[in-house]
Amino acid sequence: MDALTPVSVGSADHNLVAEWLYREAMLFDRGDMNAWLALVEPDIQYRMPVRRSATPGAGGDFSTLMYHFDESHSSLTARIKRLGTEHAWAEQPASRTRHLVSNVLVHRAKEDELHAASAFILTRGRDDDAIDILSGEREDVFRKTETGLKLARRLILIDQTVLKTYNLSVFF
């Protein structure tokens, strides 16, 4: 495994990642999912492991076998295409989301590969319901390509064991 060297906040590569994440949040919140898909590598692995509380020695909180999201480029494409049909009832009308991203810390793994950890709060409202709040952390692997920074791996570490929102029809 390559050694990871820290990338300081405010440096060019840190800004590159942070700006990517902010732009991503805006694309999510504005529902511009096709633009988001263009920022993602063809071999993307996008996962959110299920979290269950456990005592020490009972396997750790995050499952290594079951996920809330376990996506490839093709399945992300299917999800996004589905939202564009007239029959995606869970998102018609669309949820109103606000992705707040912060605590961005970046490490360089290789010349053209950056690893980033970030924290998020996602608020989600529909209809006249109370807003659901989800929070967590993301561990991302980015590649610098000819067409800009692209997301290759995402691991979403959600803070909830029982999800307090009625579905996950939104993205993290």
Partner: protein, 449 residues
């Protein structure tokens, strides 16, 4: 009109005088909207159904070793399941006998014993009270540890890896309660030599919907697919003909245990529920001829083990590259209130599954069902909205209508036990479920037929 339920001390009426016998009219296919939203009905359900029936708690594969613990819920009260040193699984009210605190407060644990955080009372893996703080300050008249072990559930039973418990000492044993449903559970859980195991852990999420919409949907609501999951048809991942999935059979195994079968297209990939062909010899070894016939001829089977454990054996594509892939899921719909339900969804697979089958089945399941599933997302939306509207007093004046395909005669040639009707589009199995539900609210011993 009966005022009291015969043989019991409880009333046959709600507080406003409405008879419980008017909530479900199985013959005319009318269901009262109140049952989905009324807090009084919820309390009656808790008392007369959930505190008396057998409920699913866990799968054996979730606690493989002595000292493994799971915390779950039985009729709204916390229970813990623990595998003892003797290899036996026991289930107890998760509550110290001193002040009531939970002795295990994580979803999973590995313990030598249970020690309560409050005063340190300690229980063995078999639930016995073995240590009390400052024990020498008690004389024998004031402390008998043998009487203060963790409170066991009244009965615990296991069938094909599914562990059920009940607070009732009166309900017949699990095998009797399941009755003919055992024949059908074998098709999903007993078809391979080593049986099934849970993949990882369950996904758990809360939805503002009444649990019965979910249980009812899985009894036999095959005809919601084209409308509710129309987006999947649009993606080309479901056949475009709305009647393509209308074939097969609706089955009432026994009482409220209901299910349906649907054949896939005439393609070998869709026979035997789509499972890898290396399991065909297992199926031939482990199932009887009638069971083998049902598995061979069908691609899909979905049902509900009364009251609130549903299952789905289906073949799906969760993306544009993977071939149609089978998965088996069991899901528990636990009522938190009249209008809120906690869903626990489990993926099961044959213990001998290859890693390729395992990975394919897991990702197909996660992408299509569970909280993010491209199918299941829309079901949540529908159940939530129905529950919301059915709270209204004006709405509650108008019954919900069930009548599809009620005139179809029984299929006497169906190879499985119970009653079967041809075609998988119909509302018969829903009505059977609601009829049984009503019996539990209004009978002293609803398990007698």
């Amino acid at each position: 009109m009966r005022a009291m339920v015969e043989g019991t001390g409880f009333s046959a009426r709600l507080a406003d005088g409405t008879s419980l016998y008017d909530l479900v009219d199985e013959k005319r296919g009318r269901i009262s909207r109140r049952i989905y939203a009324d807090p009084e009905v919820f309390e009656l359900e808790q008392e007369r159904l959930f505190r008396r029936t057998w409920s699913f708690l866990a799968h054996e594969s979730e606690l493989p070793e002595p000292g493994d613990v799971l915390t779950r819920d039985l009729a709204g009260e916390p229970v813990l399941l623990v595998r003892g040193d003797d290899g036996k699984v026991r289930a107890f009210l998760n509550s110290c006998r001193h002040r009531g605190m939970r002795v295990c407060r994580t979803d999973r644990a590995k313990v030598k014993r249970f020690t309560c955080p409050y005063h340190g009372w300690t229980y063995s893996r078999a639930g016995a009270l073995i240590a009390v703080f400052a024990e020498d300050l008690y004389d024998d008249a004031h402390l008998n540890k043998a009487e203060l072990g963790l409170v066991p559930v009244a009965q615990l039973g296991s069938y094909r890896g599914l562990i059920f418990g009940t607070w009732s000492g009166d309900v017949p044993p699990l095998e009797t309660f399941l009755g003919n449903m055992k024949f059908y559970l074998d098709l999903y859980l007993g078809r391979s030599d080593a049986g099934t195991e849970v993949v990882g852990v369950p996904q758990v999420w809360d939805v503002d919907a009444n649990w019965k919409f979910a249980a009812d949907n899985f009894t036999g609501d095959n005809f919601h697919i084209y409308s509710a999951h129309g987006s999947i048809v649009d993606l080309g991942l479901l056949p475009p003909d709305p009647m393509a999935l209308s074939f097969g059979a609706l089955v009432r195994a026994e009482g409220g245990h209901v299910l349906h079968f649907v054949p896939g297209p005439p393609d070998p990939a869709f026979s035997h529920f789509g499972v890898p062909k290396e399991f065909v010899p297992h199926i031939e070894r482990n199932l009887n001829p009638a069971q083998q016939d049902l598995v061979k001829r069908h691609g899909y089977s979905v049902g509900t083990v009364f009251p609130n454990l549903s299952f789905m054996q289906v073949i799906v594509q969760g993306d544009f590259e993977s071939p149609p892939t089978p998965f088996l899921s069991f899901r528990l719909w636990q009522p938190l209130s009249a209008t809120k339900t906690r869903i626990s969804s489990y993926l099961l697979i044959e213990k001998e599954a290859s890693s390729a089958y395992r990975e394919a089945s897991s990702s197909a399941y996660v992408r299509t069902f569970g909280p993010s599933g491209i199918f299941e997302q829309d079901d949540m939306e529908n159940w939530k909205d129905c529950t919301r509207v059915n709270k209204g007093k004006i709405a509650q004046r108008h019954f919900l209508h069930h009548g599809m395909n009620m005139q179809a005669p029984r299929d006497e040639s169906f190879p499985g036990p119970g009653e079967a009707w041809p075609g998988s589009y119909g509302e018969r199995t829903q009505l059977a479920f609601y009829g049984e539900w009503q019996r539990w609210l209004t009978e002293a011993a609803p398990w007698t037929r």
